[in-house]
């Protein structure tokens, strides 16, 4: 019990510490590849600290949603980080680490964000929210299906158990089921965290914004929570994907060495994955909005195939 609590705290601390760095790495890689110097790896940290120090401005007549939504997003992201086996596969006894619970927590944050976009009362906010919900509707089934496919060999839908099973039996890592599911998951992570080619995180062009449109009216501390919450989602989802894809060196107990090795390994994997993602982003353009469902349908098909393959063949 104590060990599990320690692990959960480690997860939270790890996520909080690495998330801004991860974003910083992505921005720096992108900047370097584009021939710019960039703000440095620690710039997101400074941004967030600056935002937290500022008083939020809220439109007159707006409801409490503007106050609660950022906090809800942040809280849901933290729960996500606690539930997902980032560093160790030890989980809190009694805490539901089920695939379905994780997906609902993910959805909670999404809904909070969409409510916020609607509440701001401007045209852009509503537009962003509706687009975001459309993507979510297409993304959630894929997340469920692809992780479900991976859960079949493990015989359980608890994420920690799936990762543990994959780490212990390396032969399941590269069969068709696994390859298809991981590719589907990557697409989903890209869509869910608003990266290219689904959404451009650095745009403020009204016709193409999705994520940015929703948080356009927020400022100060609210914006800080929103940004940090969204980044944490990226860490959680990316962490889940890399740990499913390459589940090496993840700790299975709460001993200090194991945790340090696990944290270092996951950090390395996350940084490499983030750098890769950023490098790929340099070479692709944002998809037209109407072609996004096509992309997501493709990932759904991959996930579907991986489930069927796991039942019929391997």
């Amino acid at each position: 019990m104590i060990a599990a609590i320690v692990v959960t705290l480690v997860h939270l601390a790890f996520a909080l510490a690495i998330t801004p760095v991860l974003i910083g790495v992505m921005r720096t890689v992108r900047a370097r590849l584009e021939g710019r110097v960039g703000g440095g790896v620690l710039q997101p940290w400074r941004d967030v600290i600056k935002l937290f120090a500022k008083e939020p401005l809220r439109a007159p007549g707006s409801s409490a949603v503007l106050i609660w939504a950022p906090l809800l997003l942040m809280a849901s992201s933290l729960v996500l980080c606690a539930l997902i086996p980032l560093v160790s596969t030890l989980s809190l006894p009694g805490a539901p680490g089920e695939l379905f619970v994780v997906v609902s927590v993910l959805l909670l944050g999404t809904v909070a964000l969409a409510m916020l976009g609607l509440e701001s009362g401007t045209a852009f906010g509503g537009m962003g929210s509706s687009r975001h919900m459309m993507f979510t509707a297409l993304v959630e089934p894929t997340v469920l299906l692809s992780i479900y496919a991976l859960s079949l060999p493990a015989g359980t839908s608890t994420l920690t158990a799936i990762v543990r099973a994959r780490r212990d039996d390396l032969s399941t890592l590269l069969n068709p089921v696994s390859i298809l599911a991981i590719v589907a998951l990557i697409v989903v992570v890209v869509a869910e965290t608003g990266r290219l080619p689904v959404d451009n995180p650095s745009t403020h062009l009204e016709l193409t914004m999705v994520h940015e449109a929703m948080i356009l009216e927020s400022g100060g501390r609210d914006l800080g929570w929103l940004e940090f919450g969204s980044w944490l989602r990226l860490t959680a989802l990316l962490g889940l994907t890399v740990n499913l894809a390459v589940p090496w060196a993840i700790a299975s107990d709460a001993s200090a060495t194991a945790l340090v090795i696990g944290a270092a390994a996951t950090a390395l994997k996350l940084v490499v994955a983030a750098a890769l993602m950023a490098a790929v982003e340099v070479f692709i353009a944002k998809l037209r909005l109407f072609r996004v469902p096509e992309l997501l349908a493709g990932s759904f098909v991959l996930a579907f195939l991986s489930v069927s393959a796991s039942y019929l063949v391997f």
């Binding site: 068709p176 098909v301 991959l302 195939l305 019929l312 063949v313």
Partner: protein
């Protein structure tokens, strides 16, 4: 070869084969599609090597070399050349909804699994167990032939089909004799070259290579 490693290699290679085929249906870029074809060819060569080494065949390196050269280098290069000659890099827009194309692909893969599983027999070895992947490649190649309009993608579809057949043949029986492999590679190369010439002529005659526009001959 260690049986566990063998099973693992077969699973990985067939996974790559299936993934490339799905990506070909997913994408719209001809150049990328041809690139995926090259990856598929390399995976096929790896499959040949794995199956051959496992069975301890003497000519395995030769066959692997032929397959790698033909399917991963020569054929994609020939197609890339045709595509460059007619100056087409992207698929022409279709009337079919892309989601329908993908769902169709999923359905066909399911059918391939349903057909392939009984073939493997009650206690299959890893190679036979992966047979459905070969069948799905065949069906996905067919699907590409049906849903795409550009003559070059038709060629891609044909080659995916051919790769699928080669996959089935290597998984089911460890391949045919060397002479036959050589002959069939040569045949496929000739077919691709001939179709390449016809595509270029078509471009010159009609200014496009949309095969749905080929409907002068009918009853």
């Amino acid at each position: 070869m260690n049986q566990h490693l063998f099973a693992q290699l077969i699973a990985t290679i067939t996974g790559v084969l299936l993934l490339t085929a799905i990506l070909q249906i997913w994408g719209r870029s001809l150049v990328r599609s041809i690139g995926l074809l090259s990856v598929q060819g390399a995976a096929l060569a790896a499959l040949v090597l794995t199956v051959g080494l496992n069975a301890g065949e003497p000519q395995v390196w030769l066959v692997t070399g032929i397959v790698l050269l033909m399917k991963s280098v020569v054929l994609p290069a020939a197609m890339l050349r045709s595509a460059k000659l007619i100056g087409e890099t992207r698929e022409r827009p279709t009337t079919i909804n892309p989601a329908v194309e993908l769902i169709g692909a999923a359905g066909l893969t399911l059918i391939a699994y349903i057909v392939g599983v009984p073939l493997a027999g009650p206690d299959p070895d890893p190679a036979r167990q992966a047979l459905p992947v070969g069948f799905s490649l065949v069906l996905l190649g067919f699907w590409l032939l049906m849903i795409r309009r550009s003559a070059i993608t038709q060629l891609v579809g044909f080659l995916v089909l051919d790769n699928g057949i080669a996959t089935v043949s290597f998984l089911a029986s460890g391949g045919l004799p060397l002479t036959v492999e050589l002959g069939s590679s040569l045949d496929v190369l000739l077919v691709v070259l001939i179709l390449g010439v016809l595509v270029v002529r078509m471009q010159r005659q009609q200014g496009h290579t949309d095969i749905t526009e080929l409907k002068e001959l009918h009853d």
